[in-house]
C-alpha cells in the first residue's frame, strides 16, 4: 500500500513537472543568454554603422580642410 502511494505521488509530480517543462520555450533557448547576445549584436551593429558614418564624416571634414579641391570622395 505504501509502495503504491509513493509510486503514485512520485510519478504524479514527475508527470506534472514534465508537462510544465514541455510548455516552456526557455527549456531549449536560454532567455538570459539570448538577451545578452541580442543586445551585444544590436550594439555591434549600431557601432559598426555609426562607426562607419563617424569615420566617414571625420575623414570628409579632414579632406575638406586640407585638400579642398580633391574630387575623390575620401574613404571610399
Amino acid at each position: 500500500m505504501i509502495d503504491y502511494f509513493a509510486l503514485a505521488l512520485g510519478h504524479g509530480l514527475m508527470a506534472i513537472a514534465l508537462l510544465r517543462l514541455v510548455l516552456r520555450d526557455d527549456l531549449d533557448a536560454d532567455p538570459l543568454l539570448g538577451q545578452l547576445k541580442a543586445d551585444t549584436a544590436a550594439n555591434r551593429l549600431a557601432t559598426s554603422t555609426a562607426g562607419r558614418n563617424a569615420a566617414r564624416r571625420a575623414r570628409d571634414k579632414h579632406a575638406d580642410e586640407t585638400v579642398p579641391d580633391d574630387g575623390e570622395e575620401p574613404g571610399r
Binding site: 510519478h11 513537472a17 526557455d26 531549449d28 543568454l33 550594439n43 555591434r44 557601432t47 571634414k61
Partner: protein
C-alpha cells in the same frame, strides 16, 4: 497493472519528448534511478527500456538539439580518461567474469555522466535535471520514510521497490544519496521555476526532508548518520545564528532519541567501538590488504579485485547465557570482503592512476562549486540569484557523498555521477554567462564611446 502504469508513464514522456527532445534525457535519468523494469514483473521487465531511453536521449540530442553552447570540459575529459582506464583494467582483470559484470554498468554510468553536461545548455534544463533527480529519489525515499515511521524498519529488513542491493536500492547508498539531496530540495522551495515557490512546495520539502532523514534510521545504515552529521556541519556555514542552530539541532536530536528502536542504538554503538562488529573490523583489514595489494600491483587489479583477499583475525564474540555475558575471543576467517570504501575501491580496482583521476574529478568539483558560489553570491537579479545557492547545494551534496563514500564502495554510483554532470553543466552555463556578459559590456562601452564621438562631431 503496475507494468502498464510504468509503460504508460514512459510512453507519455516519449511523446512529450517529440516536442522537446531534452525530456528523453530526463526519461533516462528516471529509468536509471528508479529502474521500473525491475519493479514491474512481466511486460516491462522484458523490454529494454533503459536502452530505448538512452537511444532516444542521445539520438534526440544528436539530431534535434540546437547544441548551442555545448562544450567538452576538463572534468568530462577526466571521466573519459577514467572510462578508458577502467576498460583497460577490465581487460587485464584478476577476475575477468566478475569484472565484466561490473564494467557492464560502470561504463554506462560514466558515459551518461560525460554526455549529460552537453545537454545542459539552459537554466531551465539545469533545473529540470535537478528536479528529476530529486523527484526520482523522492519516490523511493517517501516509501522508505513512511515504512520507517509506521514500523517495519531495520537493517536489511526494510523493503524497497527493488530488493537486490543494486544501484540506489542499497540501504547505505540510498541513505547517502537521500541526505546529499536535502540541500537541493530546499533550493527548490525558493528558486524553483517549474514548481514555483508555494506553501505546498515548502510543505512537500519539509515532509521529504523528514523522509530523507528517516532513511538512515529505517535502514540502520551507520554511514547515513555520518552523512547527517556532515550535513549539519556544512549548514553551519550558511546560518547566521550558529549557536542557535547548534542548540536547535541538539534539541531535535534529543527529542528524536526516545523514538529510535533499540536495534538502532545497538548498531550505532558499533561506530564508537568497532572492535565488536565484524563488518567494521573487516573494513580496516580490507583497507590494509588493499594497500599491500597495490604495492604489488600499482595499476590495479580490475573490477572486483577484492575477491582475492582472505584474512584471519581475532575478534571478541559476546555470548549471553542467562544473566552472565561472556566475551570470547575467536579467530574469524574472512574471504572476498568488499572494499567498503570508494577510495580503496578505486585504489584496488584501478590502482593509483584510477584513484588520482577520481580524486581530481571530485576535488575539482568542490573547488569549482566554491568558485561559482563566491562569484555569484549577492547577485540579486532573478535570472542570476539562483546560481550561488544552487552551487552551494551541489557542493554540500558532493561533500556528503564523499563522506559516505569513505565507508562504502560507491565510487561509480550513477546518481552521484549525474550530480557531477549537473555540476559541470552549471559551471559551463556560468562560464557562458560570464563570457556573454564580457562581450556585452565591451559592446556597450564601444557604443558609448562612438556615441560621444558622434555627438562631438555633430556639435562641431
Amino acid at each position: 497493472m503496475l507494468d502498464l502504469v510504468f509503460l504508460a508513464f514512459i510512453i507519455y514522456v516519449l511523446l512529450l519528448g517529440l516536442k522537446r527532445p531534452f525530456l528523453w534525457v530526463l526519461l533516462y535519468v528516471y529509468i536509471d534511478i528508479l529502474a521500473p523494469q525491475r519493479i514491474g514483473y512481466s511486460l516491462i521487465a522484458s523490454l529494454p527500456v533503459s536502452l530505448i531511453a538512452f537511444a532516444a536521449a542521445f539520438g534526440g540530442w544528436l539530431v534535434l538539439d540546437r547544441k548551442e553552447g555545448a562544450r567538452f570540459t576538463m572534468r568530462q575529459g577526466l571521466m573519459l580518461a577514467l572510462l578508458a582506464y577502467c576498460w583497460w583494467t577490465t581487460g587485464n582483470a584478476d577476475f575477468p567474469v566478475e569484472a565484466a559484470t561490473k564494467w557492464d554498468w560502470v561504463w554506462k554510468a560514466l558515459l551518461f555522466a560525460i554526455f549529460l553536461p552537453l545537454t545542459l545548455t539552459t537554466r531551465a534544463r539545469i533545473e529540470a535535471l535537478a528536479l528529476m533527480l530529486v523527484l526520482a529519489i523522492a519516490t523511493i525515499v517517501i516509501g522508505t520514510g513512511m515504512k520507517t515511521v509506521l514500523g517495519g524498519g531495520g537493517y536489511e529488513n526494510l523493503k524497497f521497490f527493488v530488493n537486490d542491493n543494486s544501484g540506489v536500492y542499497e540501504s547505505s547508498t540510498l541513505a547517502t544519496v537521500a541526505i546529499g539531496l536535502i540541500p537541493l530540495i530546499w533550493w527548490f522551495t525558493r528558486y524553483g521555476t517549474v514548481l514555483r515557490s508555494h506553501w505546498l512546495v515548502t510543505g512537500f520539502a519539509v515532509a521529504l526532508t523528514f523522509a530523507c532523514l528517516m532513511v538512515p534510521i529505517g535502514t540502520e545504515a551507520r554511514t547515513g548518520l555520518l552523512c547527517i552529521a556532515a550535513l549539519g556541519v556544512l549548514l553551519l556555514r550558511y546560518t547566521t545564528k550558529r549557536l542557535m542552530f547548534i542548540a536547535a539541532a541538539g534539541a531535535l536530536g534529543l527529542v528524536a532519541l526516545p523514538f529510535l528502536p533499540q536495534s538502532y542504538y545497538d548498531r550505532m554503538a558499533t561506530l564508537a567501538a568497532p572492535g565488536g562488529d565484524e563488518s567494521a573490523s573487516t573494513r580496516v583489514a580490507v583497507w590494509e590488504w588493499t594497500l599491500d595489494y597495490v604495492a604489488e600491483k600499482p595499476f590495479g587489479g580490475g573490477f572486483d579485485a577484492y575477491r582475492s583477499n582472505r584474512f584471519a583475525y581475532v575478534m571478541p564474540v559476546k555470548q549471553v547465557n542467562g544473566n552472565t555475558t561472556s566475551v570470547e575471543y575467536r579467530e574469524v576467517v574472512d574471504e572476498g570482503r568488499a572494499f567498503h570504501s570508494s577510495i580503496f575501491e578505486l585504489l584496488g580496482e584501478q590502482g593509483w592512476p584510477g584513484l588520482m583521476i577520481w580524486l581530481a574529478l571530485h576535488g575539482l568539483g568542490l573547488w569549482q562549486m566554491e568558485r561559482i558560489y563566491r562569484r555569484w553570491k549577492g547577485a540579486t537579479a532573478e535570472e542570476e540569484a539562483w546560481i550561488a545557492p544552487f552551487a552551494s547545494a551541489l557542493q554540500m551534496g558532493a561533500v556528503i557523498y564523499l563522506v559516505g563514500a569513505l565507508f562504502q564502495g560507491i565510487g561509480y554510483q550513477p546518481v552521484m555521477l549525474m550530480m557531477v554532470g549537473l555540476q559541470i553543466g552549471l559551471a559551463s552555463y556560468c562560464a557562458r554567462i560570464d563570457s556573454a556578459r564580457t562581450g556585452h559590456d565591451r559592446s556597450v562601452q564601444r557604443r558609448a564611446a562612438i556615441d560621444s564621438k558622434l555627438s562631438v562631431a555633430v556639435a562641431a
